[in-house]
Amino acid sequence: MQRLLTIALEAAGYRVTAVGTGQEGLQTMAYHRHDLVILDLGLPDLSGFSVLKQLREWSQTPIIVLTVQDAEADKVEALDGGADDYVTKPFNTAELLARMRASVRRANGAQSREPVFSLGDLKVDLAARRVTLKGAPVKLTAKEYAVLRLFIAHAGKVLTHRQILREVWGAGHENDTQYLRVYLMRLREKLELNPDAPLFLTEAGVGYRLAEGE
């Protein structure tokens, strides 16, 4: 897997430092600045979660974790523990590259400096708090807008159920998934005109992701 990724990522133009154990990874990160970390949760020595925790103690570098199928609890735990995104083995590299881009973009704060977000027919003027679809204005409630704005701030990156609920409804509502479902349903009704071009992608058992513009 290591070799595979190194080849693929270098081919995509990245410079890669590949290590085989968590300990080495932490050391490498301590000595050299990197733009992104890809962390395999199934490491031989330290558990992936332990590496994640330690790294997050002193680094804000975006981290993408590699997980296996049927390990939704692991994904949620990793995301809640500070990982920015995840990719499930087996994956295709295009997917990984897209998520890497989204994470780096977010880390660089590029998104938050953009006053207007556009995705397909949707345009959101963040400064003026105006949402239009194909030019026609769309009415959103305060919470609906808050959810949309959260997604835009993390465009392309996955957000866990808990993260969304916490950010929009507050820490006391972290487990009120019913709100999330209902609001997603409403947002989809209002903003997704074309069922084949979804805006809000469901990451089963984990959370949601706003589709990427490009």
Partner: protein, 506 residues
Amino acid sequence: MLFPPRRTSPWLEYGLALAIFGVVSLVNLWLERWIGYEAIALVYLLAVVLLALFVGRGPILFGTILTAVGWSVVFAPPRFSFQIGSFYDKMMFGMYFVVALTVGQLTAQLRAERLAEHKREERSRALYWFTRELANAADRMDILHRLLSQVREVVEAESAHVFPADPPGGALKLADAGSLAVETQLALATQAHQQNRIVVDRNPPPPNSAVLYLPLTAGGPSEGVLAVRFKTSQALDADRQDLLENFARQAALVLDRQRLRDAETRSRLLIESERLGRTLLNSVSHELRTPLAAIATAAATLRDSGGLSPIQQKLSSEIDFATIRLNRVVQSLLSAARIQSGQVRPHLDWCDLSEVVRTTLRELSPLLARHQTQTRLEAPVPLIRADFILLQQALGNLLVNAATYSPPGTLIEIMARAAGGELVLEVADGGPGLPADQLERVFDRFHRPPGSKPGGTGLGLTIVRGFVEAQGGRVLAQNRPEGGARFSIYLPVQEAPKISEEPSEN
């Protein structure tokens, strides 16, 4: 001796008193010339005290009277008459009587108490040995065997038999293919068992014997009945019955403890084997998936990389497709194994059914490419409490089946409606349907419909049922009247907590 032979008959004791009186009187007649008639009274007194060591109270009293009267008649002046001359002698007579009586009675009482004490000691010891014997028993059968051997030995019964009840309080069973005698005992034994009290049968066949039925209980439900047969009805006395009651109570305690021990062992074994199964499953899962993931990722990357000749492109596509299929098969096997060993832990949360359907359709769109799909969700579709992923996989399997077993171009319908407190999610196809006699059996593991193409695992529907049932639902297979098969997933509907609404703005 625990059960001494029956005490010597009263006649013998009275006879003994009389005999002693006679002998001592003769001796006294001879002694008189040396010690005088007052001292003779003391000799008589001595005789009465010695007598008291051997006989009961009645005969002692008899002996006392005999010696007193004998002394007064034979030795006290005037001799050979019932009169007593001097006042001094009358007084002596009276005091002799009192003293002899008192001493005699006290001695007899002492003796009786000592005998009783001895008996108590013997019984305690018997009970102690009995308990030790039972405590050393290895298992339930051993307990019962030892119980019987102890009973036969200690109580000197003719035969003893146990009717165990398993579970306690349940029906009695014959421990071995009994003789006719044993079977006839069953009725009375059942009576003792159900009423939890001792039943005594003094008229069983053969006549003049007695059978005692003791329920084995220490206050709780009876663990069975101990039937003890005595050769003679007299042999079944209060002492023996009492001892047997103690035995029965003790045996019940030991049986109860054994049962608990057995249950604990079973439970421990179960936990161990579950843990082993889980570990095995996890390691197999990992070992299969890791190389598979490597192959799949490499194949996907290869396919997406540029610069391949058309043949290479085709080959890499083949690898990719085959890997996806292999992955699905491994996934199915592991899911089925998890269901089988009860390791499916559904993570229930509120789900939007339309979302589940949409996500599943999107994920399977390549497999459903050659069919038309139509989704009809009857509004309002309530939020259901389900495991998103399990439900998605169940629905996915149904869709894949529909696509596999119906001709290309036909319609696959997905419908959802609320019906009687349940949510019904259905997948219907336009294929040939299912054989009418196999509507239940299609969900069995490795079931393949007759004449189906090779290449399926036969586990798809098993997984559907396993995942649906893990969420508290059920799944049904039917044939549609207009042709084709219809699979219905029923899920319980619960009241979703209210969402506080907010005003519209913006």
